[in-house]
């Protein structure tokens, strides 16, 4: 048993109980449906802006890009403009690859010591594939949810829903009604990817060793969000009209609590609120930070264009004059030219 994930799991279970009991027993719908979402949203937006501004406050004294391909030097040597970008445009392309395709992670290899003496490095794309699946399915889920905050629902959102739900599965009997409503792939993909990311943290010994409770916590939280969402859509059949009434109330700043929205919805809302509020204080800030990474977002033409360090200060150096003063006699004897002759 690993204390780090047990603590995180317990925390998420406690959150679940707080919301569930809070609604069922204490009738705290207003807290979980209005106050906490508003507060969390504010923390999320203000927090991210604050963190990014904090980062931006520190200058970039040196241009330290990691070059991952041939430099631009002699005219007849073909440079690699994406992995060794010398123009701003090329840097943007490098960043697009990085942010949208996780290019660096795509290089991932796994090293193995075979037969106790021979090392090999094999391409290992599962982390890349599941990370990509995780982020993109999360994005699609988010986009789909915009239907709750926009009236009328824009056609582009409907298009996302259409493609997300293209796989029509129907399995209907007296107890289970799968297929009505249609299955959205993204929700299950998200859950599957989170489970994968969790499983590698538990089963790979070295990854387990570096994992903190704060690495498991967002995974469990997102798992909770996905499960509660799936539960509402396919099993408890939440009152969708009521939900939209509430969410539209939130965006139009005229919040209200409709009746007949079950407690699972408020669990879902609390999980999301906690995730939003947790975001700016955590490693989830990598979402913003990746844009600012100086090993990726700078041009590599550092010998052609001088990078300015705003706090560059003069330092004490050992001057040539001091050097010659110390060695003049020996230099003259050895026939080395000197600035000043011996007195």
């Amino acid at each position: 048993m690993n204390i780090n994930y047990i603590i995180s799991l317990i925390t998420v279970i406690v959150l679940f109980l707080i919301a569930y009991i809070g609604v069922e027993v204490a009738g705290l719908q207003i807290l979980f449906g209005i106050f906490l979402p508003y507060a969390a949203f504010l923390i999320f937006i203000i927090g991210i802006c604050y963190r990014v501004m904090e980062w931006a406050k520190s200058p970039v004294p040196f241009s330290i890009p990691t070059t991952c391909g041939q430099q631009k030097s002699l005219s007849w040597i073909k440079p690699n403009p994406i992995d060794n970008p010398t123009t701003k445009g090329a840097v943007i392309i490098r960043m697009i690859f990085e942010i949208f395709c996780f290019r660096s992670l795509f290089r991932n290899t796994i090293s193995k010591l075979n037969g106790g003496s021979k090392l090999s490095y094999k391409l290992e794309i599962s982390l890349w594939a599941f990370a990509l699946l995780f982020h993109y399915s999360f994005l699609v889920v988010l986009l789909r949810h915009l239907r709750f905050f926009l009236e009328p629902v824009p056609s582009c959102i409907k298009l996302v829903e259409f493609f997300d739900g293209f796989m029509k599965v129907e399995f209907i009997n007296d107890f289970i009604h799968i297929g009505l409503p249609g299955i959205y792939l993204s929700g299950f993909a998200l859950l599957g990817a989170v489970v994968f990311l969790f499983a590698r943290r538990v089963y790979l010994p070295h990854i387990r060793y570096i994992s903190l409770a704060s690495d498991f916590f967002p995974l469990f939280l997102i798992m909770g969000i996905a499960i509660s969402g799936i539960f509402m859509r396919y099993f408890t059949k939440v009152d969708i009209v009521g939900v939209k009434e509430l969410t539209m109330g939130l965006v139009t700043l005229s919040p209200g609590i409709p009746e007949n929205v079950g407690s699972v919805f408020y669990v879902h809302m609390l999980f999301i609120s906690v995730l939003m509020a947790y975001f700016p204080f955590s490693k989830l800030m990598h979402m913003a930070g990746v844009f600012l990474s100086p090993t990726r977002n700078l041009t590599t033409n550092t010998r052609a264009i001088r990078h300015i360090n705003p706090w560059n200060y003069p330092v004490k150096i050992h001057t040539y004059a001091e050097y010659e003063d110390e060695f003049r006699e020996k230099m003259i004897e050895a026939g080395l030219p000197v600035e000043k002759e011996l007195k």
Partner: protein, 547 residues
């Protein structure tokens, strides 16, 4: 050398991390893995803090009473000065993609050599001291939730031990989805350690030497000239050519700066002879005037392994000397970290070099546009350009005894992208060239195991472990193609690889790029060469040698 045999060293690689968490496992400073403490006299030369004798194996490191405060304030200042540090402290998600990219981790299995954990050693203190979450959770005893901890003496020792088990090769940063650069973290971490005077001597004494005499090895001006004169004699013996290198010559076209290791120890000395032959050739044929400097007699920069400030203080000599001598631009020899400093730091720190001209090769007319601000050209770029324009007379068969593979030095690869230039030169001076497997070359190249000031003798076990991935790839091409020579463009490589090869692949020797060039260069009127620059018989000359 370590007493362990290669298979014993391999068997020591820990396959799994310990059961106990890393925060509960204090570092055990082990012989063979660490470098000796900085000599206080060397620390004094540059007036760096807390110069005093100390020993890492003793309990008391003789730190100032307020050492925690010094580190805290130093950390704070660096967070304010370096966005890189802030970002790298904040955004790691601990995905572990970097873990088995580090040669020290692959070679030791020590989990604290995973780049992510090396950085976490600092991050844990950062989170405790500088983040809201750390401060809040710390109050209720929940700091472990986010992996925060206080800076204790035990933590400081762990920093020291593991920050000096990183060669700042940046291989991990190639694979990190956010480009987190452990070299940056290690450098800034070492800066913090230097605030307390806990450097290693293999760095402290070279920087002291470099400051005073112009080079890491402490070679005084007359001795520097003597050493090059010694090569002049050797060259005359081998080729009959009478070479006259210029020193501290005002009005020369070009100032040449290379690591002092090349004038000091084999096989770097042969590379140095290669440079001298090349310059002689250019002088004779094209009247190209190059001078050496005894004051700026060091290309490498161990200040880079100490702090940004020391890096700047040592690097300043290059421009100062170029200005004093009135040269047009600077040519730099084969070296690794030296070139990262020149390519990414020098102009920012000590520029603008407006007293120099934008580099143009007077022989080929090539403008080195990529160096137009720094005004310093890499000799592989320079020589590749000469060869491309047919300006060198080369007898490639003189290197026919060499079956070569090429090691991309970490910093020219990942801090510059100098990949094809040396290969182009190689293909023109050597007939048998074989690449190592693709995951071990170019931007994915593996460190020699001794970079960033770790090429001492007392940490040989660390070096041999860290050099394992590189040696293993060399062994692969040795067994597959009969490779007998490992080519490099780095003076530290030339110092480190001989021991590494002797241990893991004893059949393979080490050679610099310009030693191959020097061997192949044909001079008008030279005597027929029977040996290469090492005095070994040339192909087909084995018989002649016996006469």
């Amino acid at each position: 050398m370590t007493d362990l045999k290669p298979d014993e060293l391999l068997a020591r690689i820990e396959p799994k991390p310990p059961q106990k968490g890393w925060m509960d496992t204090p570092a055990e400073i082990r012989k063979g893995m660490y470098c000796y403490a900085s000599n206080y006299k060397s620390v004094k030369t540059l007036s760096l803090p807390n110069a005093r004798p100390w020993n890492p194996l003793e309990e008391d490191w003789k730190l100032p009473d307020n050492w925690q405060q010094i580190v805290h304030e130093g950390f704070k200042q660096r967070l304010e000065n370096y966005r890189s540090l802030k970002i790298f402290m904040d955004i790691c998600v601990r995905c572990g993609a970097c873990a088995d990219k580090c040669h020290f981790f692959i070679g030791t299995g020590d989990p604290k050599n995973m780049p992510v954990l090396r950085a976490e050693l600092l991050r844990s203190v950062y989170r405790n001291d500088f983040t809201t979450a750390g401060k809040l959770l710390g109050k209720i005893g929940g700091e472990k939730f986010i992996g925060a901890r206080k800076l204790t003496l035990s933590v400081l020792k762990e920093w020291w031990y593991y920050l000096f088990q990183c060669s700042q090769c940046r291989r991990c940063s190639v694979f990190c989805p956010y480009g987190i650069d452990t070299a940056e973290i290690t450098l800034l971490g070492r800066e913090l350690l230097n605030l307390l005077g806990i450097n290693i001597d293999w760095i402290a004494t070279p920087i002291s030497n470099c400051y005073k005499t112009g080079n890491h090895l402490g070679i005084q001006p007359h001795a520097f000239k003597d050493m090059l004169d010694f090569f002049v004699d050797d060259i005359e013996e081998i080729s009959g050519l009478k070479i006259e290198p210029a020193f501290n010559k005002k009005g020369a076209d070009i100032l040449f700066i290379t690591p002092s290791g090349d004038v000091f120890a084999d096989p770097g000395t042969y590379t140095c002879m290669g440079y001298m032959l090349l310059f002689h050739f250019l002088k004779e044929k094209y009247d190209f005037d190059i001078t050496w400097s005894t004051y700026a007699s060091e290309g490498g920069n161990f200040g880079f392994f100490t702090s940004h400030e020391v890096m700047k203080r040592l690097n300043a000599k290059m421009y100062a000397e170029a200005k004093r001598l009135g040269v047009k631009w600077i040519l730099g020899g084969e070296c690794g970290h030296m070139w990262r400093v020149i390519h990414q730091y020098m102009d920012t720190m000590n520029g603008p070099a407006d007293f120099l001209e934008e580099p143009v090769s007077p022989i080929t007319g090539t403008k080195f546009e990529n160096a137009k601000s720094t005004k310093m050209v890499h000799i592989a770029e320079f020589t590749a350009d000469l060869i491309k324009h047919n300006k060198l007379d080369l007898d490639i068969s003189r290197n026919d005894n060499v079956k070569l593979t090429f090691h991309d030095s970490c910093n020219p690869a990942r801090g510059m992208g100098l990949l094809e230039e040396p290969r182009y030169v190689i293909k023109n001076v050597c007939n048998s060239f074989y690449e190592m497997p693709e995951n071990t070359i170019r931007e994915q190249t593996f460190c020699c195991g001794g970079g960033a000031g770790l090429n001492a003798g007392e940490n040989m076990e660390l070096r041999l472990s860290g050099g394992l991935p590189r040696a293993n790839a060399v062994k692969h091409v040795h067994e597959k193609y009969g490779v007998n020579m490992l080519g490099t463009i780095c003076a530290v490589d030339r110092a480190v690889f001989p021991a590494l090869m002797e241990y893991w692949v004893p059949e393979v020797d080490v050679i610099g790029l310009h030693e191959l060039v020097g061997n192949a260069l044909v001079f008008p009127g030279e005597q027929k060469r029977t040996t290469d620059l090492r005095g070994e018989p040339l192909p087909g000359m084995e018989e002649d040698g016996d006469e």
